[in-house]
């Protein structure tokens, strides 16, 4: 199995994850969307030096992963290509902001280092939350939730088709790479000279397939709405659970939980 085929199967795995049966899967897509967006906005709003307050923010997605029975390592495995980009954000901050903001023992920590760490943490936490939403909600349910928020059909259809198109693109690329490697033994990857025609063919072939797929949807009455996305029954606990999570998120923003715990336990 080549790398592209593996990547295609990984995309498909998201459907497997979303087909789970945990309490988080049973929540309405709109309630999950609400909590995720609120969480992301809250995390992003932390001050660039508020690293201790930010530590508590990991608890919410972490608990979500446990309830949803989605291993945290799955998130990091699937996002391994994005995480270095997140880590790269703020890498230059220590060079520009050298004011001392914190002293740990004898180590003086500059504002640049703190802001770099908080930026990385914010990125990772937001990715974790988004992944939890995607892993517990099918793409159709997410689109249905967005439609309820009156997001235009054109955008939700675009989101749905993009998700499906990635699979098609990878599938076509996997087939073409396999065919190429069979006729180019001993070569690693596709030769630079062949990239142009390879990419051109890939685009044309995947566009044809995407068009077929869209036609197939149209022929079965698809008109931009997601009537079929609703599960048999969503848990009645959806909104209460979402509101409790939202309250915890907001509380975590205004109360520095680690500082409070150290105050209560250690008296600092």
């Amino acid at each position: 199995m080549n790398k592209l085929e593996k990547a295609r199967l990984e995309v498909r795995e998201m459907d497997d994850l979303a087909a789970g049966n945990s309490p988080v899967h049973g929540m309405t897509p709109l309630s999950k969307l609400f909590v995720t967006v609120l969480y992301i906005v809250t995390v992003v709003s932390f001050h660039k030096y508020d690293i201790t307050g930010l530590f508590a923010a990991v608890l919410i997605p972490f608990i979500g992963y446990q309830i949803a029975s989605v291993p945290v390592r799955t998130c990091f495995r699937k996002l391994r290509h994005v995480l270095p980009l997140v880590a790269f954000v703020g890498l230059l901050n220590p060079l520009f902001d050298k004011s001392i903001q914190m002293v740990i023992g004898n180590v003086r920590v500059s504002g640049g280092v703190l802001s770099m760490l908080t930026l990385m943490m914010k990125g990772v936490f937001c990715l974790m939350a988004s992944f939890l939403l995607a892993a517990t909600t099918s793409i159709e349910e997410i689109c249905a939730g967005l439609r309820k928020l009156h997001v235009p059909k054109i955008l939700t259809s675009l989101l749905l088709l993009t998700f499906r198109y990635v699979g098609l693109l990878l599938s076509e690329a996997a087939d073409m790479t396999e065919a190429y490697s069979l006729r180019a033994p001993g070569q690693k990857g596709v030769r630079v000279e062949a990239w142009g025609s390879f990419l051109g063919q890939l685009l044309l072939r995947s566009m044809d397939r995407a068009e077929e797929l869209y036609n197939s949807m149209l022929l079965r009455g698809y008109n931009g709405e997601f009537y079929y996305a609703k599960k048999r029954e969503y848990g009645r606990y959806s909104w209460p659970a979402a509101l409790i999570t939202a309250a915890c998120t907001v509380l975590m923003r205004f109360v520095n939980v680690p500082a409070w715990i150290s105050h209560v336990i250690g008296g600092f």
């Binding site: 077929e212 797929l213 949807m217 009455g221 698809y222 008109n223 009537y227």
Partner: protein
């Protein structure tokens, strides 16, 4: 009922693939559409579904109750933008490539996609899907992920998806492609049992001979032969003129 009157379609590149083509398929008929590769069989089907904009008149009729309407057609719609949704509701199209047909995560979800889009409640759509799967002996595929099926299973599941829509007329593009002999036999039995109008495009002339009462041969954008399957598929000269061969079963009989 499906009626083409002087239908012409030219690809954007300039190649005319359907050239003033006319024919009619009456309600309840099972018709085979044959021809060499690239003669436009799939394009003809796409024109019937309004997926390509062909010139000429295409009329699609719904099977009616003969005792009420006096004949087998109760409603006939001419292809235009206004009638397109209703026409597509009447026609069930089996694509050549099952991977393009099945886009939902599981077979069941694919089967209820269409009926729910047309307003059927989920419980009813699931019940209908169960009935179809049972009829085809495919219950074991119900919750199977689409990407975890073999080519043959995908083909049978795609047919199940079509039948769950309860179309008035089936348009099938190479239905027996990628099926093993057992599943092919099952498909032939199913096609014989299924009521309603069917247009089957295929290179599997043995299957066409077994399932269709009438055959159309397409060449140079026109219907060059139209008649009973038994006659056309036994006419070796006619078949060879159109780059086809006698069905295998007739070749053996000599």
């Amino acid at each position: 009922m499906l009626k083409f009157e002087n239908v012409t379609y030219t690809y954007p590149g300039g190649e005319t693939v359907l050239n003033g083509l006319s024919f009619e398929i009456c309600a309840g008929e099972c018709v085979g559409l044959i021809g060499a590769n690239g003669v436009g069989k799939s394009t003809l089907m796409k024109a019937a579904l309004g997926l390509v904009s062909a010139r000429g008149t295409i009329t699609v009729g719904e099977n009616g109750n003969p005792s009420e309407a006096g004949n087998a057609v109760s409603k006939a719609l001419v292809m235009n933008a206004e009638n397109l949704p209703a026409i597509r509701r009447m026609l069930g199209y089996l694509l050549q490539d099952s991977d393009s047909q099945m886009f939902m995560p599981t077979v069941l979800e694919d089967m209820i996609f269409g009926p729910m889009n047309y307003g059927m409640p989920r419980a009813e759509a699931e019940k209908k899907a169960d009935e179809v799967l049972e009829r085809l002996g495919l219950q074991y595929l119900k919750t199977r992920q689409n990407h975890r099926m073999s080519g043959g299973e995908k083909r049978m599941a795609a047919i199940a998806v079509l039948l769950a829509m309860e179309p008035s007329m089936l348009l099938m593009d190479e239905p027996s492609a990628s099926l093993d002999p057992k599943n092919r036999r099952k498909l032939i039995r199913l096609l014989k049992e299924l009521p309603g109008t069917k247009l089957i495009s295929s290179h599997d002339l043995d299957m066409v001979l077994e399932t269709c009462e009438r055959v159309l041969i397409l060449k140079d954008g026109q219907i060059v032969a139209d008649g009973p399957a038994g006659e056309i598929l036994r006419n070796q000269t006619l078949l060879e003129e159109n780059d086809l061969e006698l069905p295998f079963c007739l070749q053996i009989q000599g």
